[in-house]
């Protein structure tokens, strides 16, 4: 090959350009990532310097007195994400079970396709639907029932307004559901039929095979799916902004309006005129960035570790 390259100097020069362009593009990726971290840190510096670590633990958010704290936004992000995961993970497992084990191909394919399309629906459409269709539905039909039955819990106390933490969590669940389902489905499919058949041969029911064989075999892959959903739910912006209610109060009720880091940014960023206000919002973004970064890195390392373990699981 070197001989050929020597023969045509023009080709080797063009190859050099080709290599440089490819390396350049790869470098762009690294530069963007480094730039992102640097820019977010530098621009949140005034806020970091003014509020210190207390920023993370303070619930005050007052643009007039310029006192800012991230706690209510972090709280809202965590609560809405938790609701979303509690709903989406079991649903995804059930749907994947249906697609892989129960439904014949003629049904499984269109159903799978519909779930994939749900993933393609833009966030803002979920927001429109959430605000004008789903939130009134929650206020009229779901929240009153929950309050009557479970109102003794502080979680389900308060006026059924429709918008609020619970509605945001449910919509988030619907949004991450297709992503988790897709991974779970692949994990279920990768379990060798022999292993499952062996269990069926012992007289196990479908549920027993799923619980004791499929889930156990693919456990690490399933955890990866959960990480993926988590990463998406934490940073989801528009749909949450539409329905979460945008209040800086921390409430024990899931019916109450709240906010998330992303929704606070979406709502207030263009209004922020004072440097400290702007800087505090960017620091909020930095907090969100660090959260997703940790989730991503944990997921990546986990997947890599699992992939290296040849044989055992996925």
């Amino acid at each position: 090959m070197t001989a050929i390259r020597k023969k045509s100097a023009g080709a080797s020069k063009s190859d050099l350009v080709y290599r440089l362009v490819a390396v350049g593009a790869a470098a762009v990726v690294l530069i963007l990532m480094a730039g992102l971290m640097l820019e977010l840190t530098v621009n949140s510096w005034p806020s970091i310097r003014k509020f210190g670590v207390g920023f993370l633990g303070s619930t005050s958010w007052n643009p007039v007195t310029e006192e800012f704290g991230a706690l209510s936004s972090i709280f809202g992000t965590l609560v809405s994400t938790a609701i979303a995961m509690i709903i989406a993970v079991p649903l995804s497992l059930l749907i994947a079970l249906f697609l892989v084990e129960l439904a014949p191909p003629a049904i499984s394919r269109p159903v799978g396709y519909a779930i994939e399309l749900l993933a393609a629906v833009p966030s803002i459409i979920f927001g429109m639907w959430g605000l004008f269709v789903f939130a009134p539905f929650m206020a009229d039909h779901v929240q009153p029932v929950l309050r009557d039955r479970l109102g003794f819990l502080p979680l389900f106390d308060g006026p059924p307004m429709g918008i609020g933490m619970l509605t945001a969590g449910i919509i988030l669940a619907l949004m991450v559901l297709p992503f988790i389902t897709a991974v779970v489905r692949d994990v279920f499919r990768m379990v060798p039929p022999v292993v499952k058949e062996a269990s069926y041969g012992m007289g196990s029911t479908t549920w027993e095979v799923t619980r004791r064989v499929t889930v156990k075999y693919g456990f690490s892959g399933l955890l990866g799916a959960v990480f993926l959903g988590l990463g998406r739910a934490v940073g989801e912006t528009m749909a949450v902004t539409f329905v979460i209610g945008n209040s800086h109060d921390v409430s024990s009720s899931l019916f109450a309006a709240g906010n998330s880091i992303a929704s606070t940014l979406a709502n207030e960023f263009t209004e922020a005129s004072e440097p400290v206000y702007l800087s505090s919002l960017i620091e909020l973004g930095l907090v969100l960035f660090v959260m997703t970064l940790l989730i991503q890195i944990a997921a990546q390392l986990w997947i890599r570790r699992v992939a290296q373990k040849a044989g055992g699981g996925l």
Partner: protein
């Protein structure tokens, strides 16, 4: 050995199967519900004026979102022009030029992490480097933000698709004396064409419905887009602003814009998936 009593086990199995069917029906129902509501309420807003007129203040009849439609097209096209080549070449680096090197695995890791960064953070980043220094929101900043969201998606698809091309193909082309770059673009790319096109289309579909990264970059405008260095009107931010407004006619226009965006995104999705599936057979 005595068989265990089977009624309880069978019941549990039946319950799980029932739940599993119910969960799938719920997924389909939600998709149908969203499509139905957006279709029903959106249709009511669509008319000739919607496509041809500039936005009007609330309460004034006859306004449309022509500027936002054109703005979204410009921003998405610009983002594609910027994001796709860079993403493609990064994919080429991963799968061809730097294959197996340490740098490639670092870049691949970074790309995977980048795919998980919330789009609003990308918007924030672009705000700090393209809006804050010049003190003006701009359509170009919006396009760059969307391009950065496309980049890892395209790069990863390219990486995956190029890796599917058998090595024999590269070796035969090299043996014919082709330079590396021609092997990549004339042989490997052609072989992976349908996958690459699908990846690009899905990336375009994804960013065309993005709102969050445009909020701090392109912002919005009520004027006809004339320059990419000024705030540019676009459909998604318009939906956000109009939906949050108390005016019924603006809210209706938001539904019209939602229908337009959703139809476009789903159309591209269905086309590209169908295309990929056909080629795979």
């Amino acid at each position: 050995m005595k068989p265990r009593p089977s009624t309880g086990r069978k019941l549990a199995d039946l319950v799980v199967k029932g739940l599993s069917i119910a969960a799938s029906l719920l997924g389909i129902f939600v998709l149908g519900w969203i499509l139905f509501e957006v279709g029903r309420r959106g249709i009511a807003a669509l008319n000739w004026d919607f496509f041809t007129q500039l936005p009007t203040p609330p309460g004034v009849d006859g306004g449309g979102l022509s500027s936002a439609i054109v703005g979204t097209l410009i921003i998405t096209a610009l983002a594609t022009v910027i994001g796709v080549p860079v993403g493609m070449m990064a994919g080429v680096y991963l799968a061809e030029v730097g294959k197996g090197t340490r740098l490639a695995s670092v870049v691949r890791f970074t790309i995977n992490v980048m795919m998980g960064i919330p789009s609003i953070i990308i918007g924030l980043f672009i705000y700090t480097i393209m809006v804050l220094p010049v003190g003006r929101f701009s359509g170009l900043a919006g396009a760059v933000a969307l391009a950065i969201i496309m980049l890892p998606v395209v790069a990863r698809t390219a990486d995956d698709m190029l890796n599917l091309v058998p090595n024999e193909l590269r070796e035969s082309a090299l043996a014919l004396g082709l330079p590396r770059w021609r092997v990549t673009f004339a042989v490997v790319f052609r072989s992976a064409k349908s996958g690459l096109v699908t990846g690009v289309l899905l990336a375009v579909a994804r960013v065309s419905g993005e709102t969050a990264p445009l909020l701090f970059t392109s912002l919005n405008s009520v004027y006809w887009p004339t320059s990419i260095s000024e705030p540019m009107s676009n459909l998604t931010v318009t939906i956000f602003n109009y939906a949050m407004s108390p005016y019924p006619d603006w809210q209706q226009a938001a539904w019209g814009a939602s229908l337009l965006i959703m139809a476009a995104v789903l159309f591209v999705n269905i086309i590209s998936r169908g295309m990929f599936r056909e080629r795979k057979k």
